[in-house]
């Protein structure tokens, strides 16, 4: 053992975690086999218990491995190749910790660690259903064996750098040196990895022919929390791109961004359609395949990021681990397919859909739209490969393709977000439709007229015709959906007010607490609508680029920017050039902005630091593009992005709504005790 034992310790703990995971997989499977069909076998039960404890221990081993890597980063141990390539001495502590997920091997350690942590919680909570949890535990162990095999044999994070130990590292990619990068990747990974749990439960429930829908109740919180993490991860990434990449946008339809969006879309579809199984015993096969697909898409996303099969600015350097992922996806698909066909008769629906105008059919269409959107993203991501295969040349699938194809789909989804909750389960009468839809329709009409009056007229927009048309439709639909959601709250609160005599605010709170899932869902929908409004604001973006010497003025929209000075500075980590710009609206000075360009010494790379003035109405987004070598004056590019903040507010609302939906109900809604119940065919049954 050398002077610093941490790399050896890390390698050992990784190997130990692999051995423990293999034990959990093999002995857990043997125990399940010996107790199949309800057989009593105390020996097998004890064996199963050892497998469970081995699974718990593997989490501790993985924690030690992750700790060893972080320790190596903090102690500047450049004998470890990974640390040499992703850190340097002057990097601050937060970014040294972030080095854990800044490269291929480190991010695989994070993946395996998070999976072990999810497994840890699952195995600790095994009493919720011992046998089902044992199945899920074995499936999680199988996934863990794959990732740990990768870490031990294909992408070892503790590989030693040959030759003498370097005095300093090559540094962290400058684009990653931003506070959000300390939270965005872990969030995204928590989302990615988290879908392994509902996948394991679904596959396990199918393997053991689990009776009823209890597995859905068990996994509901897992799925929602995972979905929440993925949502946060995706939008933190979007916010990082907006704040750091300096092109004025937040989503570039890069293959790696797409890779995170696809499981989010199928996961969202699953969260909706699983309600049909929970309530009416329908769509069982569909739901099982939705969660299977979601898990496989998370693996596909990882494959796309790491194999180099698609070009991406985010991708890790192409490596030889692509074949491992191909093999793993094929095995997962084969196991899912085999189990599905073997247990297909277990997935028969208990009920059939009774009307085109019902909550069930709105869920079906919602699933359809989400899956088509997912297909479009997958198609766009993989089409360059197909094109190269067919015609010998790669094509680019950039924003124009995705925007044109996905915008109508998004609007359809927004429409369904509004009407879905207004429809009753089983069937909705014409009278009910008229009653529920009149207010939203009026709101839509009024908004449409207001938009036209204030000047949103697509036919006058020239090149921006498509963007303005979609914005007009989005604003109108958004008004309708918000009205529908508000009306639902008010209607419910009115009933509670009548029952309890409380004021409308207290009644609304009580209403929400009585059925957190339903009203949390409405809040999530509201957040989605707010996000759509923010996205629609993009149609009215403006930008201007100008060379700005001392005292020069740039005008954009209502703002006037005056250059006060431009200078440069240095610190041990980077050299910087920046300009100081006073921002005026009319004659009133609002603020001073300082866009910069940094040059990082260790990695010999540059990046821009955007200066931002953000309000509810718009973002003033200023970039220091560099200096004109002829005049030595800075070139400043300014964007005016309307409604950008609405996107982030929408995301926060989605987070609040999801958390609300996770809170247990205060009381159960009671039905009147004695009534004659008659349910003729096609009856309309409203939700409580």
């Amino acid at each position: 053992m050398g002077s610093n034992p941490m790399p050896e310790f890390g390698s050992f703990t990784l190997l130990l975690a692999l051995v423990l995971s293999v034990y959990t997989l093999v002995m857990g499977s043997v125990a399940l086999w010996r107790t199949r069909g309800g057989r009593i076998d105390p020996g097998a039960s004890r064996l199963g218990e050892t497998a469970r404890r081995a699974g718990i221990s593997s989490c501790i081993a993985m924690f030690c491995a992750a700790f060893a890597l972080v320790w190596a980063a903090f102690t500047n141990d450049y004998s470890v190749s990974y640390i040499l390539h992703h850190t340097n001495r002057t990097l601050n502590a937060g970014y040294k910790f972030a080095a854990l997920w800044s490269g291929q091997e480190g991010s695989l350690v994070l993946w395996a660690w998070l999976l072990a942590a999810y497994g840890f919680v699952l195995r600790l909570r095994h009493r919720v259903d011992v046998r089902l949890t044992a199945f899920a535990s074995v499936i999680l162990a199988a996934i863990q064996v794959f990732f740990l095999s990768l870490l031990n044999f294909a992408a070892p994070p503790f590989a030693l750098q040959p030759g003498p130990v370097a005095q300093d590292g090559f540094g962290l990619n400058p684009l990653l040196q931003y506070p959000e990068m300390m939270i965005h990747p872990p969030m995204l990974y928590l989302g990615y990895v988290g879908f392994s749990v509902p996948f394991a439960f679904a596959l396990g429930a199918l393997m053991m022919r689990y009776p009823g829908e209890k597995w859905i109740h068990i996994t509901r919180r897992w799925t929602m929390v995972t979905w929440l993490f993925l949502t946060c991860g995706i939008f933190l990434g979007a916010h990082w791109a907006y704040s750091v990449l300096g092109w004025g946008g937040y989503w570039g339809w890069d293959p790696v961004e797409n890779a995170s969006l696809m499981p989010w879309l199928t996961g969202t579809a699953f969260l909706h359609s699983v309600m049909m199984q929970e309530k009416r015993g329908m769509m069982k096969s569909w739901n099982v395949w939705l969660i299977f697909s979601t898990f496989m898409l998370t693996i596909l996303g990882t494959l796309l990021t790491r194999s180099g099969i698609v070009s991406s600015v985010h991708a890790f350097a192409s490596s030889n681990i692509g074949n491992w992922f191909y093999t793993f996806i094929v095995i997962v698909f084969a196991v899912c397919l085999f189990t599905f066909f073997k247990q297909k008769d277990h997935l028969k629906s208990e009920n059939k859909l009774e009307s085109l105008v019902s909550r069930e059919s709105s869920f079906l269409f919602n699933n359809l739209i989400l899956l088509v959107a997912c297909f479009v993203v997958l198609w766009g991501t993989l089409f360059p490969i197909l094109s190269e295969y067919v015609q010998g040349t790669k094509v680019t699938m950039g924003a124009p393709f995705y925007n044109r194809v996905n915008l109508p789909i998004g609007l359809f989804l927004l429409f369904l977000t509004g009407i879905g909750p207004l429809l009753a389960w089983r069937s909705t009468s014409l009278r009910s439709i008229r009653r529920n839809f009149i207010l939203p329709s009026i709101a839509m009409g009024v908004t449409l007229i207001v938009c036209l009056v204030v000047g949103i007229r697509p036919w006058n927009a020239g090149d921006d015709l498509q963007a303005e048309l979609f914005s007009l439709i989005t604003f109108s639909l958004a008004a309708g959906v918000i009205t529908a959601i508000t009306a639902e709250f008010l209607r419910g609160a009115g009933v509670v007010k009548t029952q309890t005599g409380k004021n409308i605010f207290a009644s609304t709170v009580l209403l929400v607490r009585r059925n957190t899932r339903r009203y949390g869902g409405y809040v999530v929908h509201f957040g989605i609508v707010v996000m759509f409004i923010g996205i629609a604001g993009g149609a009215f973006n403006q930008s201007r680029e100008q060379e700005m010497g001392f005292g020069d003025v740039l005008t954009l929209g209502p703002y006037k920017l005056v250059c006060q000075s431009f200078t440069q500075d240095s610190n041990p980590n980077f050299d910087t050039e920046y300009a100081l710009l006073d921002v005026y609206q009319g004659n009133k000075k609002l603020t001073q902005l300082a866009p910069e360009k940094r040059h990082y010494t260790a990695s010999d790379t540059s990046s821009t630091m955007v200066a931002l003035r953000s309000t509810l109405a718009s973002d003033l987004y200023v970039i220091y593009e560099g200096k004109n070598p002829d005049t030595d004056k800075p070139i400043i590019k300014v964007f005016l992005n309307p409604l950008m903040n609405w996107i982030w507010i929408g995301v926060l609302t989605v987070v609040v709504g999801t958390l609300l939906a996770l809170v247990p109900n205060l009381t159960r809604v009671a039905l009147p005790a004695k009534v004659t119940v008659e349910v003729p065919a096609g009856v309309e049954v409203h939700h409580a």
Binding site: L353, V372, D463
Partner: protein, 162 residues
């Protein structure tokens, strides 16, 4: 009648297309947003601003020149396709931000549309078939307070509680 509708649709499409024809600045912006920067940063040509980009400044200059040349007097009367073809010939097909060259490129646009239409129709047909299969299932009235009524109430609660 169908022919008249077809002609009407064509006129509308032409009108929409004509709306896109503006001055040379608007053409410059439009075409610049249909191309990627050749440096491999994955950004649109007019949005590529990363420090030290070896290509974007040159390409933007070429685009300006092409727009002016194509129109002769700078009024923007030339063909966008010709300009895009010039860039494709120089930098390869990956320079286009979306597949618009015809031929196999059309498949990129057609497949999502086809999937969307087929999936929508398929879902509608599925719902129709299910509805027909479910038939007219009348449930007889249950006596007050009976065990069947409790079961039915529980089912209604389960099926309707969101």
């Amino acid at each position: 009648m169908l022919k008249r509708w077809g002609m009407g649709l064509m006129v509308c499409l032409l009108a929409v297309g004509m709306l896109g024809a503006g001055d040379s600045t608007s053409r410059f912006n439009r075409i610049g947003h249909q191309m990627m920067c050749a440096c491999g940063c994955g950004q649109m040509l007019l949005e590529c601003n990363h420090v030290g980009c070896p290509d974007s400044d040159r390409m933007i200059g070429e685009l300006r020149a092409q727009v002016v040349n194509a129109s002769g007097d700078g009024s923007g009367g030339g063909s966008d396709t010709a300009i895009l073809n010039w860039f494709v010939a120089k930098y390869g097909a990956t320079i286009l931000a979306a597949p618009i060259r015809g031929g196999f490129d059309r498949v990129a646009w057609a497949i999502p549309l086809a999937i969307f239409v087929l999936a929508t129709l398929g879902t509608a047909v599925l719902i129709r078939v299910w509805k027909l299969r479910s038939g007219q299932r009348a449930v007889p009235a249950l006596p007050l307070g009976g065990a069947g009524a409790d079961a039915m109430r529980e089912r209604i609660r389960r099926e309707t509680e969101y």
